[in-house]
């Protein structure tokens, strides 16, 4: 069963959860050999940017020791052979260049989304 996870809602509680909950969920399912492809669109394309840093949060004497590292999560998924695609126009709209991004992802023009989605048995929009 070929599954497409679409993420377009980025940084949803990532500080509290210390990761993106859908990337985390995907990693667990990949551990069970689920055939999952990831499509990042909208603000979620920023998950590909290597030089993001969410560390430093502090409230009074409390310091967050383990901040979310979403780009590292993307790299981890790629290393577990999870195909990752991003919508080209969403990257361009945000000024995100290929050089800013994790290596190994594929870009997809918005006009080809319908054709791309046709290739999957289940499409889950997160």
């Amino acid at each position: 069963m070929k599954i497409l996870h679409i993420i377009d809602n980025a940084y949803r509680a990532t500080i509290e959860e210390q990761d993106d909950t859908v990337l985390w969920f995907t990693q667990v399912l990949r551990g069970a050999d689920a055939d999952i492809t990831l499509l990042l669109r909208g603000s979620a394309v920023n998950y590909l940017v290597l030089r993001q840093d969410a560390s430093g949060l502090a409230f009074g004497a409390w310091r967050q020791a383990q901040p979310p590292r979403v780009a590292a999560s993307v790299v981890h998924l790629l290393s577990s052979r999870t195909p990752i695609h991003a919508v080209a126009e969403d990257l361009a709209d945000r000024g995100v260049r290929a050089a800013d991004c994790v290596a190994g992802i594929a870009t997809l023009p918005r006009a080809r989304l319908g054709e791309f989605i046709e290739g999957f048995d289940r499409v889950w929009q997160w």
């Binding site: 809602n9 949803r12 909950t21 859908v22 969920f25 399912l29 069970a32 889950w124 929009q125 997160w126």
Partner: protein
Amino acid sequence: MNPKSALTFLIMDPPFENSRTTTAFRLIQSALGQGHDVKVFAYEGAVSLAFARQAAHPNAVHGRDAQQESHPLAREWIAFLQAEAAARGAKLDWVNCGLCVDERGVGETVPEVRRGSPLDFWKMVNESANTLVIPTR
């Protein structure tokens, strides 16, 4: 689709926040009503839907005490749907993400709600004719 085939729902919203919760419950009821077994995986805030200590409250603005107000509680909706499923000879399997339960402290649930992980969701998917993910926004 075989009327006895199972359907899986993944839901993420906490109770009392938006209309997706009511819509999800209506979809679940409709599926049960058409003879499907239903499997629900509650992820993140949705684990609070089954929290046993939800309490109805009076509403002074409405001029009603707690009994008159009859405030909707998601835990009761789950229990009523479980009863409806049993009456129809169908199954409603409700699994809460265990880590999500722990971080929210809502481990005390209505009966027959199980604790699980995304692997339980994956099992549900493979046992179902189709799966609907209803994420939070």
